[in-house]
Amino acid sequence: MKQDHEKDSTQGSRNDSVIVLKGVTKKFGSKIVLDNVSLGIQKGQTTVVIGPSGCGKTVLIKHLIVLLRPSSGEVYYRDRRIDNLDENELNKVRTHYGFLFQGGALFDSLSVTENIIFPIRQHCEIKDWAQVEDLVKSKLAMVGLDGFQNYFSASLSGGQRKRVALARAIALNPEVILYDEPTTGLDPIHSDVISELILKLQRELGVTSVVVTHDMTMAYKVANRIIMLHNGKIIADGDADHIRNHPHPTVQQFVNGQVSQDDLAVLRMSGTVAQGQFLPRDFEQ
């Protein structure tokens, strides 16, 4: 039963799916990064995509907003096919999304305020600047950074940058928020702050969230549903308990953070320090 569910992750959820991928394959040259992936993102839920580095998680999340176009397959937003739209049409669809990039992707030549009002400026005619200032204040307050309006990206810490980027992502009150590795490079406490923010936004704004991560603590905390990608395919799909007890050995290795026997064999073959490898101190004469 579960296996059937994992074969087509759009089944049983198509009616309340905000975004649907149908048979999406993505190739870069001869390398297949996504291999016939079908997936439905359910409204109001937080879907977490896990998987080892390089398995295609970021490529998958970029397909949800069509920052990358599939080599074959289809992408739908609210039952409208969007992967074949031109950029002008896509730009209108993208106003319904917020995207938190791995490094934040704040514009370093702009202040925090200017970063947050960037999408507002692009899509709305600003008549009342006092109202915009209030909006910036409220968005920053949501991420706990009110008072940082005049800071620049360079003077913020990694965690603060991600929170400002999140404030920017919610500036247009999007229906869907996509998070690409939101806790990468953060210490456990700041990672937990980001997890709490994701939960808060889902609770208060009712947004649909897709989180790409390999941080299992975060995945278990925020997910209504967890999907595991491996070699461009979905190999597990279900709630946190289903993933925790999944029989697939790759899933078990990943969620428990265990190295595989193949990787161990490679490490053994590559030799050891005791077998005569140089250390930095060998050159310190």
Partner: protein
């Protein structure tokens, strides 16, 4: 072997196609931006960075071109007793060819490198993807203001280079080499026409667009990492440099044909 040549050829054709598409999109975006007053602040900012800050570099280049021409040409003309014609040679060379080309090359180095590095860094740090994810066309937001700023200001910068070239040539010819000032200007005025000055300025529009579009394209398509950005900057300068030289040749042929069409007799004289 044949497969490798074929793959390289297909790759080259793809690159040309992508560049042509980028040029077309940049032109459309620039036209739309020029009609939209709300994007003017972006253009003013780029005009300040690209134009105002380049004035000293371009003026110094122009001055040295004029001074060097005077020193190099004096002996040949003096040998024939034509040293008072030095002004014609210097000024026509400066306003028609050397001023525009060398000013554009300096701009390709100063602005082109900076544009590519800035946009390349934005590309590798996903800032360009961030612009797209917020429903904004990055070519319209990032490339168009830079293209318009280069288009509008390169001709003005060339005028500055010409002016300093003329002053530099005059200074060396009259003050250092002792040529009669009145004769210098008199021969210059009779030899250099408004047409010659206009050619140089009109070339500036083409050079400005070429270096801006090439630099933006290299920034937008830059590969990841510090090495990728560095390589993109080098490629941007080299491509801009060759484009300026090729455009200069093409425009020289076109302007000569136009001149000969309208003033055939004068050309013969």
């Amino acid at each position: 072997m044949i497969g490798a040549v074929g793959a390289r050829t297909i790759g080259g054709v793809n690159d040309i196609g992508r560049f042509a598409r980028f040029v077309w999109q940049s032109m459309i975006a620039s036209f739309r931006t020029s009609l939209s007053p709300c994007t003017y602040p972006l253009i003013w900012t780029q005009m300040y960075i690209i134009g105002v800050r380049s004035v000293p570099v371009v003026m110094i280049t122009g001055a040295f071109v004029g001074m060097t021409l005077a020193v190099q040409a004096y002996d040949q003309l003096a040998g024939m007793g034509l040293e008072e014609h030095l002004g014609v040679l210097i000024n026509i060379s400066v306003v028609k060819e050397l001023g525009p080309v060398l000013a554009a090359v300096m701009l390709a180095g100063r602005i082109g490198g900076a544009l590519t590095a800035e946009l390349g860094t934005m590309n590798v740090t996903e800032q360009i993807d961030a612009v797209r994810s917020m429903g904004t066309d990055p070519i319209r937001y990032l490339a168009a203001p830079r293209v318009l700023a280069c288009l509008l200001l390169t001709p003005f910068l060339i005028i500055f280079a010409d002016l300093m070239g003329i002053i530099g040539g005059y200074f060396v010819s009259v003050v250092t080499l002792g040529i009669n000032s009145r004769a210098y200007w008199s021969f210059s005025a009779s030899g250099v026409e408004l047409w010659d000055v206009s050619i140089g300025v009109v070339k500036g529009f083409f050079f400005g667009v070429a270096l801006a579009v090439i630099s933006c394209y290299k920034g937008f398509t830059c590969k990841e990492g510090a090495r990728g950005v560095g390589q993109a900057c080098t490629e941007a300068f080299v491509s801009s440099f060759f484009s300026i030289l090729a455009l200069d040749f093409a425009l020289a042929v076109i302007f000569k044909s136009i001149y000969n069409t309208f003033w055939p007799l004068k050309s013969l004289v």
